[in-house]
């Protein structure tokens, strides 16, 4: 991608961020500023992720997205979810992604501007289409006040393991993750017949 476009892109991002912050401050005060900040982080991170031609930079920009989403969770009063988001996505998954990305050889030519723009356009179109459909059909329940946030961890824990609560989806998710793990190991391993022991000759 042309390096000349880097500066305008980041300048546009900065402008959007400032705009979001201003809009937030104007409409909802401090909460608005926080919302604007986290939204800018989320959107900006994902945009950079698509834009940057360096895969590692893309991966790092995901950190902004994850943190922004965590902030949004925090604003919604789900602070357990917010912290879990940071711990699992940033601390765990992102570290793994980076580990994988850094091990893979760089392929700078892969991302062409046309492809990036095409992808962006496709994505925006899809979001707009789904959004219009959803906005037209779903009746949103809106309220001016949120319920008192319950952030008691033991309540969440009980809810996960309560037969009346979410034990089935919770266990199902665990099962699916285990299956995925086993499958990943299986795919990553060669078949036993492919594995030749390099020391077999020496032993013989």
């Amino acid at each position: 991608m042309d390096d000349k476009l880097q500066k305008p892109f980041y300048a546009a991002l900065g402008v959007i961020t400032l705009g979001l912050l201003g809009w937030g401050a104007a409409s909802a005060g401090a909460q608005g500023i926080a919302f604007g900040l986290f939204t800018a982080l989320t959107l900006g991170g994902s945009l950079i992720c698509v834009w940057e031609r360096s895969v590692v930079r893309s991966a790092f920009s995901l950190m902004g997205t994850f943190t922004g989403v965590a902030g949004l969770f925090l604003l919604l009063g789900a602070d357990f979810l917010a912290v879990a988001q940071i711990l699992i996505y940033v601390g765990g998954i992102l570290a793994l992604i980076l580990f994988g990305v850094m091990l893979s050889p760089p392929d700078l030519a892969e991302r062409k501007l046309s492809r990036v723009l095409g992808g962006l356009a496709l994505m925006l179109g899809a979001v707009a289409w789904v959004g219009s459909k959803v906005a037209g059909t779903v009746a949103w329940a809106t309220t001016d006040e949120l319920p008192e946030p319950t952030t008691k961890v033991d309540e969440i824990g009980v809810a996960f393991l309560d037969p009346e609560g979410y034990v089935v989806p919770f266990e199902l998710a665990a099962m699916i993750l285990t299956v995925a793990l086993v499958a990943a190991v299986y795919i990553a391993r060669r078949k036993a017949s492919d594995l030749t022991d390099p020391r077999a000759e020496e032993r013989a």
Binding site: S54, A188, R189, R190, L195, D197, P198, R199, E202
Partner: protein, 408 residues
Amino acid sequence: MTEINTPPEPPEAKTIEIPEKARTLPSGEREFMLDVSTSDLEVNMGPQHPATHGVMRILIRTDGEVVTGGQVHLGYLHRCAEKIGENVEWLQYLPYTDRYDYLSAMNNNLGYSLAVEAVMGVEIPRRATLLRTICAELNRIGSHLIAFGTYGLDIGAFTPFFYCFREREWMMALFEKICGARLTYSYIRIGGVFNDAPVGWLKEVERFCDVFEEKWQEYYDLLVVNHIFVQRTAKIGVITPEMAVDYGLTGPMLRGSGIDFDLRRDMPYMAYDEISKAGVYDVPLGRGEKGELGDCWDRVYVRVQEMMESIKIIRWCLGCIEDGPVIGDIPKVLKVPPGEAYVGIENPRGELGHYVASDGGKVAKRCRVRGPSFCNVAVLEKLLPGTFLADSVAIIGSTDVVIGETDR
């Protein structure tokens, strides 16, 4: 991202061999990531790198953490010692000998002096011989202390290094008292030694021996039998006896592989014949105690034990030293009769050989130095493939190279 602006690697890199079996680690661990295609990374370890003990450069090819090839590049400290030997007078060359293996300068002086004396056929006074022995063995201790301490650094243990330097400091103070220099002594001269030991010096050496024996146990307990240290060094960098002989390794590298050979005992020079026959000291050998025969641990163990054996030799010398002259009848301007001789002595790092050829003049015709590190370092290219990056550091450290000597 902009590429870093470095000149392209010289084409020598392609000579690295990547044996396919390198993927099996010497510890017997299964190869990993066989099917994930990773690209090899060529890393310059050195010329300035903490693990190369000077300015050696090792071009390492790595696949993740596994080293798949290594190539030793020498010459960053080449100071033309052999050419200088052909241009300065016999005695003037002596200070240059200090500078190839700067950690055991006394032994280098001794090797050169013995070689020149072998051509000249000079008689050395008894007191001079014993003083030479004491100094050489003290210097051997000092050299092994550095080898052992820096090896601890390579493995990641800092403290033994300082303990080693504490004793080495005393050793250097002893040398300072006898010859005025702390590192490059030029004390052992052709025909004897430069001057007699000052009053009370021998007593202090004895005290040093007493204290050292106590402190030695500290090193042993702190590092040599430390579990992590053993885990890091056992079964790593195994040099089989056949390999050791083939590569012409000498000194602790050879004995670490279990070959019972010590020039001091098997081809004695100076008073070592007498000392060996009196059964004063033993030759410590690698026995594969913690892992396999000839691994890094064995080599370190041999060095650590040798320090104690040196103490025994020093004590024996102290017991029988008598007053007398310390230098033979040597003219100021030395003329060496035509002839040639090769004398190899047991340096801390192995056989230090001096081949001197004279045409009867004041200047040598050829002054060849066979540095033990130069020969020992050749085995690295064989040992490095198939090890972890951290193991490669352990292996390089266990060869105990002194770059001054490989490059001369």
